[in-house]
C-alpha cells in the first residue's frame, strides 16, 4: 500500500460537540480526493484536523506512513509539510506575489529560492504579475497565487478548502478542470472540500460524501452518482426524485411503471420500494401509451426539464430535447427505462 494520506476512525470535536465521528478515508499518492457534503457536515473541520489546526480526539491521521495526529499527539501545523489553499485565499496583503510564494521557502538559500519562485510563477502562468500586490489581482489570479504559494514548499499533500467558492460561477468549473490538470501533471496528492458536486465531479478521483459528521460513502464520481448507497446520497447528488412504489413478487411495479427484473433485486424487499428516478431514466417517446400530465417545466437551453405527475400524485423528472415544447397541464408521452434505477427498501 502506498497510501499517502490515511485517516483512521478520526473523531474531532468542535465546542464539545463531535463535528467528525469515526471518519476513515485514504488517498493514494497522486490521487485527488474530495470531501463533499452540505454546509455544517464537518468537512472543513476534518480538513483542518489534517492541517493540524484542530486536534483529533480519537483515531489517527498519518501522512506518508508517519502518524501526525493522534489523541495524544498533534504535530504543529508548521512541521507537517501540508500545503493549504484557503477559502478566502489568505494572501499576505503586505507582500507582493513573489514574496507571498516565497514565504514558505525562508530556509532555502536565496538563489534556489528565486529559482523555485520563478518556477511556481511559470506553473500558474503569473510570470508578469510577480511584483503586484494581492489587491491588484483578480479573484482567479489570487486563487492561482494561493495555489502556487501552497505548492512552493513541495508539500506531501495539498489541502483545498472550498477553493472556488469565492469566484464567479462561470469561472468555477473551468478553473476546477485547470487545477486538476495542473495537480495531475505534477503528481500532487490533494484533498479538496466543497459543497458543490459539479466542482467535486470536475476535480476528484475519489469522493467522500459526508453527512452530519459521518462519512456516508466513499466512491468514484460515477459510482456516487449512479450507485448511491443511501437515500441521503441519492438525494444530495444530482437531480432526481425518490418515489414510493408498490411491488409484487414478480417484480411488477405499481403506477404503471413497468417491471423490474426480479433477479437483480435484493431478496428481502417488502411490498413497497423506494426508487431513485433520475431525469434520464424517463425518456420522451411519442409512440408510448403512458401519458403523464406536466406539472412544471424548466428551460435549460439544450433541454427541457419536465416534472410529471404519476397516477397517485408523486412526481418524476424527465429530460427532453428543448424543441419538445408542450405547455403545462397537457400530457407528455414517456417510456420508463428502469435498467439503471436505484432501489432502496421501502419505509
Amino acid at each position: 500500500m502506498n497510501d499517502q494520506l490515511v485517516i483512521d476512525k478520526v473523531t474531532v470535536t468542535y465546542d464539545n460537540v463531535a463535528a467528525i465521528l469515526k471518519a476513515s478515508f485514504s488517498l493514494a499518492e497522486g490521487e485527488i480526493g474530495c470531501l463533499l457534503g452540505p454546509s455544517g457536515c464537518g468537512k472543513t473541520t476534518l480538513l483542518r484536523a489534517i492541517a493540524g489546526f484542530e486536534p483529533v480526539i480519537e483515531g489517527s491521521v498519518s501522512l506518508h506512513g508517519k502518524s501526525i495526529s493522534t489523541a495524544k499527539y498533534t504535530q504543529a501545523p508548521e512541521d507537517r509539510a501540508v500545503g493549504m489553499v484557503f477559502q478566502d485565499f489568505a494572501l499576505f496583503p503586505h507582500l507582493n506575489v513573489s514574496k507571498n510564494i516565497g514565504f514558505g521557502l525562508s530556509k532555502m538559500p536565496a538563489k534556489q529560492r528565486d529559482d523555485r519562485i520563478n518556477k511556481m510563477l511559470a506553473l500558474v502562468s503569473l510570470g508578469d504579475s510577480a511584483e503586484k500586490f494581492p489587491h491588484e489581482l483578480s479573484g482567479g489570479q489570487q486563487q492561482r497565487v494561493a495555489l502556487a504559494r501552497a505548492l512552493a514548499p513541495n508539500p506531501q499533500i495539498l489541502l483545498l478548502d472550498e477553493p472556488f467558492s469565492n469566484l464567479d460561477a462561470e469561472l468555477r468549473t473551468q478553473l476546477a478542470t485547470e487545477v486538476r490538470t495542473l495537480l495531475k501533471e505534477n503528481k500532487v496528492t490533494a484533498l479538496m472540500v466543497t459543497h458543490d458536486q459539479d466542482e467535486a465531479f470536475a476535480m476528484a478521483d475519489k469522493i467522500a460524501l459526508l453527512n452530519g459528521g459521518k462519512i456516508v460513502q466513499v466512491d468514484a464520481p460515477y459510482q456516487l452518482y449512479h450507485k448511491p448507497s443511501s437515500l441521503f446520497a441519492a438525494d444530495f447528488i444530482g437531480k432526481g426524485s425518490v418515489i414510493n412504489v408498490g411491488i409484487d413478487a414478480a417484480g411488477l411495479l405499481g403506477n404503471n411503471l413497468g417491471s423490474l427484473s426480479i433477479q437483480t433485486l435484493p431478496k428481502d424487499l417488502g411490498n413497497t420500494v423506494k426508487l431513485l428516478v433520475r431525469p434520464d431514466d424517463v425518456t420522451y417517446d411519442k409512440t408510448s401509451d403512458t401519458k403523464l400530465p406536466i406539472i412544471s417545466k424548466a428551460f435549460l437551453g439544450p433541454n427541457y426539464l419536465y416534472e410529471l405527475a404519476l397516477t397517485d400524485g408523486q412526481c418524476v423528472p424527465c429530460l427532453t430535447q428543448s424543441h419538445i415544447d408542450i405547455p403545462i397541464g397537457e400530457t407528455l408521452p414517456v417510456r420508463f427505462d428502469l435498467r439503471h434505477v436505484v432501489i432502496f427498501n421501502g419505509e
Partner: protein
C-alpha cells in the same frame, strides 16, 4: 448643550450635503478643509475670538473708527456668554457630524434619491424627506460625539465664565475643597455621558442595517451659476470662521511677540508636552495592543466586557477622570504614608499623587479607546486564515507575529500613537488637575496666559497645539481621498 447639538447638526449636515451630494468648483478642496476646525481646541478658538471681538479688539475698534461711536453707544454681541460658548463649541465640533454624515450620504443608494425625484420631489424636499431620515443614525452618532466633547469641555466654559458641570466640579474641588460634592457632581455628569454613549452605540448598530453595500456610481447634483457661488460661499464661511480667521489671528499675535516668547521657557514647555504626550501615547498603544490581542485570542464574554469597559474612557470628561483617579490614589498615598510612619517612622508624604506617572495613567484611561479602535481595526484586517496559512507554510507562532502581523499592523500602530499623542497634547482639564507642581504643558500654559488676559503671549503655545492638531486631520484626509477613489 442643546445649542451645541443644534449648531453642530446644522453645520455638519450642510457641509456633508454640499460635499457629498453636490458638485461645484472648489468642492474637493472644501471636502477636506471642512475638517480643519478639528485641529482647533475649543478653548483656543474661544480666547482668539475674544481677542478679535472684544471692546479693544480690531472689529470694534474699526467700527468705532468708522462711525465715531464711543463705549455704550452701540450694541455689540457679548462673546463671553453662553451664546458665545455655544458658537465656539459648534464651530470646532461640527466635523464629527460632518465626517459620519458625509460617509452616510456617500454610501446611501442614489437610486432611492432618484426615485424620490422621479416621484416629483424637488431636490430640497428629497433632502428632508429621504436623505436625512436615512442618515439619521449617522447624524445621531455624530451629534452624540460632539455632545460628549461638549460635556468634557472645560477651557471654553471656564474662560467665558459660563457655569457648566466641569467648571462646577473644578470650583467645588479647588475653591470649596469639597471632595464629596465634586465626586457627586462627577457622578451626575457621568449619567449624562452614559445616556450619550447609549445613543451613540444604538445608532451605530442601526448604521449597520442601513449600510448599503451595493456598488453604485454616485451622481452629484451639478450646481451652476449663483447656486455654485452660494455653495462655495457657505463652505468658505464655515471653514473661514472655524479655522482660517482664528488661525491667522494666532499667527499675527505669535509673530508680534516672536522674539520675547521663543525662549528657553517655551522650549522646555515644548519638551514637557512632547515627552509627556509621547509616553502616554506609547503606553496607550501598548495597552491597546495587549487588549486587542486578548480579545482576538480569547473572545469570551469576560474579555469582551473588559475591553468594552476599557474603551469607555473617551466618553468620560477629563475632569471626571482626574477626580476619579485622584481620590483612590490619594487614599493609597495616605495608607502608604501611615504604614511607613508606623513601621519605619519614615513619612513618605504623597508618593503617587502629583507625579507624571499618575498623569500618564489618567491619559491612558481617557484615550485608550482611541488607540484601541485603531489597533483593532488594523488587527481585524488580519483574518484567522492568514495566521493559519503562515503556519501551514512552516512559520512558528513567533515568526507569524514578526513576519506577518507586525508589518501589516505597523501603520495602524503608528496612527494610534499619533492620534493619542495629539489628543494628550490638547487635553486641558486632566492635566490642569493632575500635573505635578510647576509642571507646565502647552495646553496648560495657553490656558493660564489666556486667563490672565495675556492673549498675545498665549498665541505661540496655542499655535503650536493647532499645528500639531493638524496631523490627524491630514491622516483623515488621506483616508477620505482613498475613499473617494472607491466612490468615483
Amino acid at each position: 448643550m442643546a445649542g451645541v447639538g443644534f449648531g453642530t447638526l446644522l453645520l455638519g449636515v450642510s457641509a456633508a450635503w454640499l460635499t457629498a451630494m453636490c458638485d461645484f468648483p472648489g468642492r474637493k478642496i472644501l471636502s477636506w478643509a471642512f475638517l480643519l476646525p478639528m485641529a482647533m481646541p475649543a478653548y483656543i478658538i474661544a480666547y482668539t475670538y475674544t481677542g478679535i471681538l472684544d471692546f479693544a479688539g480690531p472689529i470694534q475698534s474699526i467700527l468705532r473708527g468708522i462711525f465715531g461711536w464711543s463705549y455704550g453707544d452701540y450694541y455689540f454681541p457679548q462673546i463671553r456668554s453662553l451664546g458665545g460658548a455655544i458658537c465656539m463649541l459648534s464651530l470646532v465640533l461640527y466635523p464629527y457630524v460632518y465626517m459620519l454624515v458625509r460617509i452616510a450620504f456617500l454610501e446611501q443608494s442614489t437610486a432611492v434619491l432618484e426615485a424620490s425625484r422621479n416621484l416629483g420631489k424637488k431636490p430640497w424636499e428629497t433632502l428632508f424627506l429621504v436623505a436625512l431620515p436615512i442618515s439619521r443614525p449617522a447624524i445621531v452618532a455624530g451629534v452624540s460625539l460632539a455632545l460628549m466633547e461638549t460635556l468634557a469641555d472645560y477651557g471654553t466654559v471656564a474662560y467665558f465664565g459660563v457655569s457648566a458641570f466641569t467648571t462646577g466640579i473644578f470650583r467645588t474641588w479647588y475653591g470649596l475643597g469639597e471632595l464629596t460634592t465634586a465626586a457627586q457632581l462627577c457622578a451626575f455628569l457621568l449619567l449624562f455621558v452614559f445616556a450619550l454613549i447609549m445613543a451613540e452605540r444604538w445608532s451605530r448598530q442601526r448604521l449597520r442595517f442601513h449600510h448599503n453595500s451595493a456598488n453604485k456610481k454616485l451622481v452629484r447634483m451639478q450646481l451652476k451659476g449663483w447656486h455654485a457661488y452660494i455653495a462655495l460661499l457657505i463652505g468658505c464661511l464655515i471653514v473661514g470662521v472655524g479655522f482660517v480667521i482664528p488661525a491667522t489671528q494666532l499667527l499675527i499675535w505669535a509673530s508680534s511677540r516672536w522674539q520675547e516668547n521663543l525662549n528657553g521657557a517655551f522650549l522646555s514647555l515644548l519638551f514637557n508636552s512632547f515627552s509627556l504626550a509621547a509616553i502616554a501615547a506609547i503606553c496607550c498603544v501598548i495597552v491597546a495592543t495587549f487588549l486587542a490581542y486578548t480579545k482576538r485570542v480569547f473572545n469570551s464574554r469576560l474579555e469582551l466586557g473588559a475591553v468594552g469597559v476599557a474603551s469607555l474612557g473617551y466618553a468620560v470628561p477629563g475632569t471626571v477622570i482626574a477626580v476619579g483617579v485622584l481620590i483612590p490614589v490619594a487614599w493609597l498615598d495616605n495608607k502608604i504614608d501611615f504604614f511607613s510612619r508606623a513601621w519605619f517612622d519614615i513619612p513618605t508624604g504623597l508618593l503617587l499623587s502629583g507625579t507624571i506617572g499618575i498623569l500618564v495613567f489618567a491619559y491612558v484611561v481617557r484615550f485608550l479607546s482611541v488607540s484601541l479602535n485603531t489597533v483593532e481595526s488594523g488587527l481585524s484586517a488580519i483574518k484567522p486564515s492568514i495566521d493559519e496559512s503562515a503556519r501551514s507554510l512552516g512559520a512558528r507562532p513567533a515568526q507569524v507575529l514578526k513576519r506577518v502581523h507586525l508589518p501589516i499592523l505597523r501603520s495602524s500602530l503608528l496612527t494610534a500613537t499619533l492620534l493619542v499623542f495629539v489628543d494628550v497634547l490638547k487635553e486641558l482639564p486632566t492635566t490642569l488637575i493632575l500635573r505635578p507642581f510647576n509642571f507646565n504643558t502647552l495646553a496648560v500654559r495657553t490656558y493660564e496666559l489666556a486667563s490672565d488676559e495675556r492673549l498675545v503671549d498665549a498665541a505661540l503655545p496655542a499655535l503650536a497645539i493647532v499645528v500639531i492638531g493638524l496631523l490627524p486631520v491630514l491622516l483623515i484626509t488621506k483616508s477620505i481621498l482613498n475613499e473617494r477613489a472607491r466612490h468615483e
